[in-house]
């Protein structure tokens, strides 16, 4: 029987599994977390034994039905706490199973007929002075802690960055009992309105959702300001105050507009970075913006490898699910899809384009940086060190530059600073991480098991 391996059990991966199962194939669904759902449907821990998860989970009932249908399916093998650390052409998928970052996890190699990558995205955060202080979180972290663990990151919180994602994050913070002092969208109103304004029918569904959030903000008297952002965080051993400033359309600071605000947490997100290292390992072609190129049926440039969700363009959960359904069906060898599914996937793409237009990253953001601002969090490379090394970019290869400054060479392997370093040094961002997730030497040394077992 045809076998399909799906990496990532978020909205895209679950939908892909569902439709591949419908098409009659054998599915192995992998996720690094103990539970399915990804970031969007981040579930409460089983141990919480929550009686009303739907009260904090967006679209809980539909998700719950989907996850049961998929995970309980006799042709579905569900592998939670499974980390894909390498992909070889074939595709051959190398995984370790066990506690995240554990030792002695079991090594497996999977060799499916088709592979669907639905690895999602993480917050992109631009550096600013003090962003490395404890108490500064990504927007996604604040949401994950509130929704997934019922932990509020602070009492006096500021939310800043760009994009509609700041709204559900704020809603989650409010629900968790934090006081949100303000939500600051860096783009000026004219940019946002121009981006969203034309062809409103493309975003009709989304608009209702956003309006819901706006109402919630108003009820809690949370100000939402455009053309403003956090340009610095200050504090001794943790954040104690932020500096807010007014921005021009290109995100350069309006001089004299700075003011400080006492806070105990800051949540920041300037959009998302797709997690494409596995796609790169599989040999998939990327767009200039770093997304996986997909064609008809969510096929990547590599035969037998499909991609769905945020790694093909940031467009949110419904769009990811629509793409996942298409990918699952085609990966399973299904016949050409009906128009409805395709139209849904296309609409998703239109939304992604719209989102990118309404919430671009302004070219003037580096004006927030000071010489001693850390740009690479892992290696503590400062803006001054990077600038000094990159004085004449022609004099050094990107790799030599990274070796010289250590930028991007720490444990996160440039996930956080990669796009920033590339932009500041006018070099190519690297998406290549041959070891996609850390693996212990002892685990690497083990002979891997094949799955399914070779008889």
């Amino acid at each position: 029987m045809t076998t399909v391996v799906i990496v990532g059990a978020g909205p895209a991966g679950l939908a892909a599994a569902d439709s591949a199962l419908r098409a009659g194939v054998e599915v192995t669904l992998l996720d690094a977390s103990p539970q399915p759902g990804g970031q969007f449907h981040r579930m409460l821990p089983t141990a919480y034994a929550a009686t009303h998860p739907e009260r904090v989970q967006h679209g809980w009932r539909a998700f719950d039905r989907l996850r049961r249908r998929v995970l309980d399916h006799p042709r579905c093998t569900w592998w939670p706490e499974t980390t894909v650390w390498a992909i070889e052409p074939g595709p051959r998928v190398h995984v370790v199973r066990g506690l995240v970052d554990g030792v002695g996890r079991a090594r497996y190699v999977l060799a499916p007929d088709a592979l669907i990558l639905a690895t999602g995205a993480h917050d992109r955060v631009l550096p600013f002075p003090g962003w490395q202080l404890p108490g500064v979180f990504t927007a996604g972290a604040a949401q994950a802690l509130a929704k997934g663990e019922r932990v509020a990151v602070g009492d006096r919180v500021v939310v800043a960055g760009s994009g509609p994602f700041l709204l559900p994050v704020t809603a989650a913070l409010l629900e968790a009992g934090s006081r949100v002092l303000g939500v600051f969208e860096a783009n000026v109103a004219s940019t946002v309105l121009r981006g969203w304004g034309s062809r409103p029918w493309e975003v009709a569904g989304k608009a209702g959702e956003l309006l819901g959030y706006a109402t919630r903000l108003a009820r809690h008297r949370v100000p939402y300001r455009m053309g403003r952002t956090v340009i610095a965080a200050r504090g001794a051993d943790r954040v104690e105050e932020v500096v807010l400033a007014r921005l021009r359309a290109d995100w350069s600071v309006v001089p004299g507009s700075e003011r400080t605000l006492a806070v105990d947490a800051v949540c920041v997100g300037h959009g998302f970075s797709p997690q494409v290292e596995l796609a790169v390992a599989a040999g998939c072609e990327l767009t200039g913006a770093g997304f996986v190129v997909v064609g008809e049926g969510q096929r990547t440039s590599v035969p037998g490898v499909y991609a769905a969700g945020e790694i093909t363009g940031i467009a949110g959960a419904p769009s990811a699910a629509a793409e996942g359904r298409v990918a699952g069906w085609h990966a399973a060898g299904g016949a050409a899809l009906g128009e409805v599914a395709l139209r849904r996937a296309l609409r998703a793409k239109a939304f992604a384009r719209r989102l990118a237009r309404a919430h671009p990253i302004g070219a003037g953001w580096p004006s927030w940086l000071q010489p001693d601002t850390i740009v690479c969090r892992c290696e503590e490379t400062t803006f001054a060190a990077l600038s000094a090394a990159a004085v004449d970019p022609s004099m050094m290869d990107d790799r030599a530059l990274r070796l010289a400054t250590r930028a991007g060479l720490g444990p996160c392997q440039g996930r956080m600073c990669g796009p920033t370093i590339a932009e500041l040094t006018q070099s190519r961002p690297t998406h290549r991480r041959p070891i996609a997730q850390p693996i212990r030497l002892g685990e690497l040394a083990e002979q891997p098991h094949s799955f399914p077992k070779e008889s």
């Binding site: 052409p89 004099m395 050094m396 790799r399 030599a400 041959p434 212990r440 030497l441 690497l444």
Partner: protein, 392 residues
Amino acid sequence: MPFGLSNDRGPVGRTRVIVIGAGIVGAACARELADAGCAVTVLDRNRPAGATSAHGEGNVLVSDKGPGPELDLALWSTRLWPHVLADIAERTPVDVTRVEWEPKGGIVVATTIAGADALRAFATAQCAAGVRFAELDRAALADAEPHLTDEVALAFHYPQDAQVQPAAAATALLAASGAEVIVNCEVLGGDARELRTSTGVLSAELVVNAAGPWAGEVARRLGAPIAVLPRRGEILVTTPQPPTVFHKVYDADYVGAVGSDSAAVQTSAVVESTKAGTILLGSSRSQVGFDDRLRPDVLAAIARKALRLFPCLADVAVMRTYGGFRPYVPDHLPVIGADPRAPWLWHATGHEGAGIGLSVGTARLLRQLVVGEPSELDATPFRVDRAAVIGQ
């Protein structure tokens, strides 16, 4: 003697030299030739120090080489390195601290009785050639490398072994040369008078082929093919660790792999830490052309051998791997000298995994050959017109 700049050819300052390849060997050659008064232009297909020079540990080793011309070049290079760096520091504004020159010494261990016998014989022969080493007894070894396995049959300390940050070393040498650098410039063909490149036609009196693993292809395009092929090597990089490994430590079987002709994958344990706290684990050698795909089986083999030396690293996480291509010559000797078929063409390549260490000696020798100065080192074994390089 081959065509060169013998002193009676007039002021060398007028001699224009094009160096192909801005890796460490090209950079070192550019520095020496500029120092000799040449007007040097360095070309690179991409940008400086991005390929082989940025994909290795930065070895400056004598311990892994048996008696012979390569060891002589290595010993000379090892002596030259501190002088070259001091000279750069004195005469240029280039910051040489970023080169991270570290004469940390190497420790070679044999884990079997047979390996111990071979290592002792090897080291004794090296000693006659000028390599210094000292046997470490159990206590001394435990003191030098407390986390090393107990199952060591014999261990030698080689104080002359050192390490640099290779990409920084290459860019420092290049900056110190003051040479004009042309990036994203691929050589297409022609000769010194009319060197055709992807960015236009260049002209010079001499061309130095220092294109590393691509030197074979460059030579072919220039009508004078040489047998330099890529050989792939892989290194694992751990997350930053507290100090665990203090020298470059390797298994004596590494010596065998360096000299091997086999096209099959070979691995041997080479373990060392960097100033950034990461531990580098090597090494592998395989001839797969320029295929840079990840090979989990090769990585696993490297891990197994490294753990045999340092069992305590089993729980340490690997966060990165990098593979580089090294310029391989079938007889395992660098190619340094004038091309007998094209009087304007010189080669400086074929160092395989030792190019970082050998770069400064290679460049000094090339300069002496070009300028016609006497040399401390016999260049004959490295000559281009040997069978392994240009056939019969």
